[in-house]
Assembly symmetry: C2
Homo-oligomer: 253 residues x 2
DNA sequence: TAGTGGTCTAGACCACGAA
DNA sequence: TCGTGGTCTAGACCACTAG
């Protein structure tokens, strides 16, 4: 990374800076390597720290950098592919399911979820908290809403620890047949609780996957899963595997 | 929206500000309504404009606000559901396909695409530019890569306008049977050309959907589609329709 | 031309992690 | 304790839109 001067340009400085840094990352840095700190980088490029940060923020959004307070800025590995839906049934808790039950309560769901579940607005449902780990690091936090109606009464194990109870609910759920599922993906920002689970700061960009599971003509469960947008590439369909390399979206115009 | 003072809090001001604004949007503003300008808002909340902007940026990221330079900040409508994959075959150009061919060239694809297409790194392929419009506004810009090999030779219409040629390529593609498809979704930022097509500034957050179309055992086409992350909720699966209301991800902890 | 959001600056202090 | 990224300020000017 040279000590290149930023000459006058019609495009914003931070944008130009971003492309310069992108090229540098491609050619001169290895994954995991630590970049100079923000004050030094800003000085080196002759811009204010805020401007430099604007460029770094975008690069982090694109999954090229990872920044940690108190530590520094490092070059991020390519995003990992995370299978969200495959051809085989993935009723919650199925086979190679990487989800880990964390906790369980009974509560009134958000109105949006209640609508999807087709329950009355103030009906209580099972609320399971689960975490997904991939390649050794947390990639997603989920809230799974399961109506108490169709499932057998679970009050017997109400006293059990949240996690054990969560697993029990999932087991019951698996007894039902799965007719189909329905997914939506949108951009969001991590709530404080999700952020903690994902080892990020609140407000970090996440991909919110809302899934409705259908069984016997009704909605048997609704899952709201938030995936780390910086480290994850969500995969759908047949061959979830093959690696698409870095940065499909990083070239300048 | 009151003239509430921001009292001392352990959480960042912009975060608190965001929740205050979110509540105000829910209770006191109608879709399309214009907010006071940033300088007034900042003064009203007793913060610097940069801090106010940090809150507005997050709200825009979450699809709650829409900001346009020279115009103002307005309350955004709920995100629209955009069907990305349904049960029926959606070979490019099929039935209710909302894609509009814009242009067509022959060029060497990015190495990542070449790898997915299983072509040699420097092989030229058809590159189609398409746009997707939903509810009257542009929601996605796509680059469709189609190897020249399997399709009939199209040099005959090379002279035709780009758009006409693009449609011809799609027609040829439809003749092949579709064995399956493979999708990945990740967060990106809009390149300058895509941004223009999407009526956004460069760097705007987008959901990048990479699709591989399989036919006769090989990859017949690769599509890289960038959807506006602020206005779109990507839907997959059976019932693409049903509306999940606003803000699955906006409550404070 | 007036008003809006977008960019940029040069500081300051804070919260966190590691030594 | 020190160095890092995270937050915040109070300005300035620019680019764009609309009247």
């Amino acid at each position: 990374m040279g000590t290149t001067q930023l000459e006058a340009a019609p495009e914003p400085k931070y944008w130009h800076l971003k492309t310069v840094l992108t090229d540098a990352l491609d050619s001169e840095f290895a994954v995991g390597e630590i970049l100079p700190n923000e004050r030094d980088l800003a000085a080196r490029f002759g811009v204010a720290r805020a401007t430099l940060r604007q460029a770094l923020e975008q690069l982090e959004l694109e999954g090229r950098l990872q920044r940690r307070r108190g530590v520094g800025t490092t070059v991020a590995p390519p995003r990992m592919g995370v299978a969200v839906a495959s051809n085989d049934r993935d009723w919650p808790g199925g086979s190679a399911d990487a989800w880990q039950a964390v906790d369980s309560t009974v509560d009134v769901p958000p109105s949006a979820v209640a609508a999807a579940l087709e329950t009355a607005p103030d009906t209580e449902v099972n609320v399971l908290r689960r975490t997904r780990v991939s390649h050794g690091q947390p990639v997603a936090a989920e809230l799974l809403y399961v109506p108490v109606g169709p499932a057998p009464d679970l009050t017997a194990i109400d006293a059990a620890s949240g996690a054990a109870r969560a697993r029990a609910v999932v087991r019951e759920l698996q007894r039902l047949g799965l007719d189909g599922e329905d997914r939506a993906v949108e951009l969001g920002s991590a709530r404080a609780d999700d952020a903690k689970e994902l080892d990020r700061l609140p407000g970090a960009p996440v991909l919110v996957v809302t899934t409705r599971y259908f069984s016997r003509g009704t909605t048997a469960a609704v899952s709201v899963a938030t995936y780390r947008a910086d480290t994850c590439r969500l995969t759908f369909g047949d061959t979830a595997g093959v690696e698409i390399h870095h940065a499909p979206q990083t070239r300048a115009s």
